[in-house]
């Protein structure tokens, strides 16, 4: 254990309780982190990790409990107080102002006098970037940056404030391995200077790699604190209360390579911001019974590729077809009609969060639930009951989707898509932010579709996921396919190089 024995922890939370209505998000949670250590916080989706740390940072107000910094109780009414107390936080959802430059984002809230010295802010950004080894362009508009770059800006923003306690809420969710390594390297050097880090993640490997101690939350309650070196199975058991199973593609039975692809994309080109193409010259085919994995750092054209395949965006050039059907420029309705199932990365935005689970489940096919001109409520309900049971959605048909946890929202989307028995499945980041149990479930469903003969295109930034599920992999870099390989022969290092734009597959 790091830190000076006997001295007070850098940050200590005592008896934090937080209720949302009758839901107890945190139940008398105690937590502390000492100088120079990384203390990881683990837990399933909805366990209360984010909530407790938002309380420490003043973004949420607790119903009970206190926050101590260096042993002294401090009143944290707002992030301003937290910042003054030396606490910095990188929130799970970005807290950046999109239309503003990186420098402006860094200057925000650091007012000293009325004048805004943007040059100084720019210099500070460059200086901080050098000091922490995080490369960013201070004049870039945040909205134009990739998600990974935005994450770097977030971290820089917290570090540039010279905080002594840094809370990182799932900071690696959008980073590639190399970036994660860089982040860890930065953290390690800062730890030596006495920084304390609270690290929230679902990725057990990372947690073990960086943490001195690990605490586990389950349903708002602190289950226990163990050493950072604790075995992954043990950590998982603490989180879910049961041992974890591995879901993997059964190595056998890949689709016959001579079969005709079901989903075929030729010379696809999609325009991005600033008129330069986001996707260029992309051609690929996915056969029935095959999972084609798309690897790449976010912001390299995956979003646009998904948008085209979802029918949300029209390509500038190229063709998309399923079987004999030309789907170039098809809209969502035509895609669905062609039995293309779509599960995009932004699941909140792809549902109607303020409508019920039951309605969301039939939203793509309302006309099938029409009875003499009106909505057939009874049929919709029966349909919902059936899917809720079949896909293990923890909700009732009348719940608003907005009130569900991330994993259950993903299951709603999954149920809506899979219940229609799609012939092609396009999926992006299907398990991002999900807990172990939900991740397992989603992956097994994808494999089941593969077994049923569907053509699956799987976009993911999680290499483990791609290697576990895909039969074949392609790598996208700056909108182009820079590598293709079968999953068996893929090796991480080579993939990492390709994703970073180094080396081209012959």
């Amino acid at each position: 254990m790091a830190g000076v024995p006997g001295s007070a922890p850098a940050l200590e939370l005592r008896g934090i309780t937080k209720r949302f209505g009758d839901l107890v998000a945190n139940r008398s949670v105690d937590f502390d982190v000492v100088g120079g250590e990384v203390h990881a916080l683990l837990g399933e989706n909805g366990a209360g990790k984010t909530t407790v740390m938002r309380i420490a940072y003043g973004l949420t107000h607790p119903d009970a409990g206190s926050v101590l910094v260096e042993g002294h109780e401090v009143a944290i009414r707002s992030p301003r107080d937290a910042i003054a107390a030396g606490i910095g936080m990188v929130t799970q959802h970005f807290s950046l102002v999109g239309p503003m430059s990186v420098a402006e984002n860094l200057a925000l809230g650091r007012a000293s006098g009325l004048r805004l010295d943007l040059d100084a802010a720019r210099r500070r950004a460059v200086h901080a970037a050098e000091r922490f080894g995080i490369r960013v362009d201070p004049d870039a508009r945040v909205a134009d940056l990739s998600v990974g770059e935005q994450q770097r800006v977030e971290i820089l923003k917290a570090l540039a404030r010279d905080c002594r306690i840094l809370i990182l809420d799932e900071p690696t969710a959008v980073l590639v391995p190399a970036e994660i390594e860089a982040l860890f390297a930065t953290l390690r050097s800062l730890l030596e200077e006495g920084l304390s880090v609270v690290f929230i993640s679902h990725k057990l490997g990372e947690v073990r790699a960086i943490s001195n101690r690990v605490s586990v939350l389950r349903q708002g309650q602190m289950i226990g604190t163990v050493a950072g070196s604790t075995d992954e199975r043990e950590l998982a058991r603490m989180m879910v209360g049961r041992p974890m199973l591995g879901v993997e593609r059964s190595a056998g039975a890949p689709a016959p390579s001579e079969a005709e692809p079901v989903l075929r994309i030729r010379d696809l080109r999609v325009d991005g911001a600033h008129g330069r193409p986001s996707v260029e010259d992309v051609s690929l085919g996915v056969r029935g019974g095959e999972i084609l994995g798309v690897a790449g750092v976010s912001g390299n054209g995956q979003t646009e590729l998904m948008a085209v395949l979802s029918g949300m965006r029209r390509p500038v050039a190229g063709t998309v077809s399923v079987g004999d059907l030309d789907l170039t420029g098809a809209d969502p309705r035509q895609m669905t009609a062609a039995r293309v199932g779509r599960i995009p990365e932004d699941r909140h935005a792809s549902l109607i969060p303020d409508l019920s689970v039951a309605y969301n489940l039939v939203m793509e096919r309302l006309d099938d639930f029409r009875h003499s001109g009106r909505i057939d409520e009874r049929a919709i309900r029966a349909h919902a009951d059936e899917l809720i049971a079949r896909f293990d959605i923890r909700a009732s048909p009348d719940d608003r989707v907005a009130a569900l946890s991330g994993g259950n929202i993903q299951k709603v989307l999954l149920a809506r898509v899979l219940s229609r028995d799609p012939r092609v499945l396009v999926v992006s980041q299907p398990t991002r932010g999900l807990d172990v149990g939900a991740t397992e479930y989603v992956r097994s469903q994808l494999l089941a579709r593969r077994a049923d003969g569907a053509a699956v295109l799987l976009v993911s930034e999680d290499l483990d996921e791609l290697l576990a599920l895909a039969d074949r992999l392609i790598v996208l870099y700056e909108g182009r396919i820079v590598g293709e390989m079968s999953a068996q022969e893929a090796d991480r290092e080579q993939l990492g190089m390709l994703m970073a734009g180094r080396g081209r597959n012959p």
């Binding site: 979003t303 948008a307 969502p332 109607i352 969060p353 793509e364 309302l366 009106r374 909505i375 009732s396």
Partner: protein, 374 residues
């Protein structure tokens, strides 16, 4: 375990809407007592005049319904558009266009019987109102241009159109006053009750509202409209043609606002006048919001504002309070109600998304670049 907590995730506050409205009325009375005292009147008596007295005689009760009639239409019109996420601030102009059409049809139908004249007028008014709503709707879905501005700016243009007609071709040849000639007798809405001003328009308004309720709550089209309003992106993703839904909602909204114009011309004025609407279109926004965008709420809110309208003029007259107090009370009441309505959902951190119109509805627009993290 988690299931049980999910279904009651949103804390239900002890404040029901009626309790809040009553509380708002009480606060309004406290705030406006000062001005009433300044005007030398007794606040309690004034409030009785405002709210209670109109409900105590058959004559005033019917007048409350008369006052409610136009804002039943415009309230419903605005509510439908808002439900679809289309911020139609142009009900005023659409109403005027409906009135123009009603006068146009009503003065030309001549000897045709009412059974022909009335439907022709209603149809004409609805089409005219919808036509006036079309341009902003097209600009919105084609170019992503904010309909708040375009619909708002078309209101004065519609009034100028009315004035142009009344100062030009439609000026009453008999009086020379800028009013159109009278519409044919067969084109007038009959009174519902003898010797009262309550006319057919009131019933039509209720029928329109009942229909709107049915469509929104019970039909696939209504569900699509709601979905488009709640989450345009999610709706489009599910294959709903959001642009078309918006245009249809805008046209329906315009048509209903147009009917308000027909109702005023055929039921009250019997001619086109430039003063026939003292801002019914804007009041429609108030009605729709007080009614929380539901059709039942619209009915209640319109009746309540009708009550206040009748009450304000009674109070001004019998207590000698300046008539502008009515506006003060309406304004303050509106503000206290919207403020207190926010208490209904406890302190939920995810308020109803009243996001900007912008281009989300446009086909094939770029996906958002931020916030992709879960």
């Amino acid at each position: 375990m988690r299931l049980s907590s999910i279904s009651t995730r949103y804390p239900v506050s002890p404040w029901s809407t009626p309790a809040l409205v009553l509380f708002a009325i009480a606060i309004t009375f406290v705030i406006t007592a000062g001005p009433i005292l300044l005007a030398g009147a007794n606040p309690i008596a004034a409030y009785a005049e405002f709210v209670v007295i109109p409900l105590t005689s058959q004559f005033t009760l019917l007048e409350v319904l008369v006052s409610a009639t136009p804002i039943l239409f415009t309230g419903a019109a605005v509510a439908i558009a808002f439900r679809a996420g289309y911020w139609n601030i142009g009900a005023e102009g659409q109403l005027l266009l409906g009135a123009i059409a009603a006068a146009g049809v009503g003065t030309t139908v001549g000897d045709l019987p009412g059974i022909v004249a009335l439907p022709a007028m209603l149809l004409g008014g609805a089409i005219a109102g919808a036509a006036w709503a079309l341009l902003p709707a097209l600009l919105r879905v084609r170019f992503g241009i904010d309909e708040v501005v375009t619909t708002l700016l078309l209101n004065p243009v519609a009034l100028l159109l009315v004035n142009g007609l009344l100062h030009g071709p439609w000026r009453d040849p008999v009086t020379g006053f800028p009013e159109s000639p009278r519409i044919a007798a067969s084109a007038e809405f009959p009174a519902l009750i003898d010797r009262s001003r309550l006319h057919l328009g009131f019933v039509i308004a209720l029928v329109v509202i009942a229909t709107a309720w049915y469509v929104i709550a019970r039909t696939p089209a209504g569900l699509r409209l709601r979905a488009a309003g709640l989450s345009p992106h999610g709706a489009r993703f599910a294959g709903i043609n959001v642009s078309r839904t918006l245009i249809v909602a805008a046209l329906a909204s315009g048509a209903i606002a147009g009917l308000a114009g027909v109702s005023e011309v055929a039921g009250i004025q019997h001619r086109l006048t430039s003063g026939l609407s003292p801002g019914y279109g804007y009041t429609g926004i108030v009605v729709a919001t007080l009614g929380t965008l539901t059709m039942g709420g619209v009915v209640l809110a319109a009746l309540f504002l009708g009550d206040l309208t009748v009450g304000a003029s009674t109070a001004a007259r019998s207590l000698g309070i300046p008539s502008q107090l009515g506006a003060v009370v309406q304004g303050v009441l509106l503000l206290t109600v919207v403020a207190l309505l926010t208490l209904r959902r406890g302190n939920s951190s995810r308020p109803v998304d009243a996001g900007p119109p912008a281009g989300e509805s446009a086909e094939h627009e770029p996906a958002p670049t931020e916030g992709a993290v879960t």
